[in-house]
């Protein structure tokens, strides 16, 4: 019985308070959407991110492009000067790994540098 009364009371409150809902003015939606569109258009985030990505890819292409060019030149030079067998020797493989490691380290340093610059800019 008590539960029934409580439920009835809740129902009455619901009915009564439904009438007190404030309606948003018609132009509010337009105001909100306009501000959002404007902010999005003016926001530098998307263009900045795109630019960052482009820079990173360019850096990567330059560093690893040079690395592969040097490796190709090494392979060609060794093939014509010292013969095919030397290409499979541990000395040559060691030299190729060394070149690869140096360029990878270079790329790592350049990424670290741009990361530090970025965090300095934010601060």
């Amino acid at each position: 019985m008590d539960k029934y009364n409580k439920q009835k009371e809740h129902e009455k409150f619901r009915q009564i308070l439904a009438s007190a809902k404030v309606g948003a003015p018609e132009n509010l939606r337009h105001r909100i959407m306009q501000q959002i569109e404007t902010e999005k258009a003016l926001s530098p985030h998307s263009t900045k991110r795109k630019k960052e990505r482009e820079n990173m890819l360019r850096e990567m292409a330059v560093i690893f492009g040079t690395m592969y060019a040097i490796l190709a030149a090494m392979v060609a030079g060794v093939y014509f000067l010292l013969g095919k067998d030397f290409l499979l020797s541990p000395r040559f493989i060691g030299a190729a790994v060394l070149v690869g490691s140096i360029f990878s380290l270079l790329w790592l340093i350049s990424r670290l540098d741009s990361h530090l610059r970025e965090s300095k800019k934010i601060r």
Partner: protein, 185 residues
């Protein structure tokens, strides 16, 4: 299309998909802001600011709660900041002539719709902001106590107690100011 799909659309760059959320929730958002700010001008500014904040931080929204709860929480916090009010401490004094003795458990307002609307608006205006807001959230939007707790930052038992008191106070104000009891016709 459900809300999560619409959110994904907005996140993937379709800004106009956000209009759905404005259309769906702006009435309740402005009701919450109006309860806290007390005037329509500030309420509109608060709602506009809240929607922009929601849009900016959409990536931080986790789908484990309802979008409406998340949005109303932003509206609530923005309105509090805007008015620099303290919701749950003190509150407006309500002039009542020991109405607690008059108010029993019944709730009767037998009158036409516009009169009833006027009375309800006036009573909510006379109530402390927090109490009026709780009644609004609980009865207008059918928010469960759990959602109200998330919106207001109170814990669930606290919401229940405050809701009980708010209902009691609402009835008391109706009786003391209008000498009538509220009923649905």
């Amino acid at each position: 299309m459900n809300e999560n799909q619409r959110l994904q659309q907005v996140l993937s760059g379709n800004t106009s998909a956000f209009a759905y959320f404005v259309d769906t929730y702006q009435d309740m958002a402005i009701t919450i802001a109006y309860r806290i700010c007390g005037n329509m001008q500030d309420a509109e500014d608060v709602v506009q600011e809240s929607y922009v904040k929601a849009f900016r931080n959409l990536r931080s929204f986790r789908s484990d709660s309802k979008f409406s709860t998340w949005l109303y929480r932003i509206v609530y916090n923005t309105a509090i900041t805007h008015t620099k009010s303290q919701m749950w401490i003190g509150g407006r004094e309500v002039a009542m002539e020991d109405a607690s003795q008059l108010a029993d458990n019944t709730l009767e307002i037998n009158m036409n719709e516009s009169e009833r609307k006027e009375i309800v608006a006036d009573v909510l205006q006379k109530m402390p902001t927090g109490d009026a807001l709780l009644l609004t959230l609980y009865y207008m939007e059918d928010n469960p106590v759990k959602e109200i707790a998330r919106i207001t930052g109170l814990n669930e038992p606290n919401v229940k107690v405050k809701l009980f008191r708010a209902r009691k106070l609402f009835k008391e104000i109706v009786v003391s100011n209008y000498g009538v009891q509220i009923t649905g016709t």
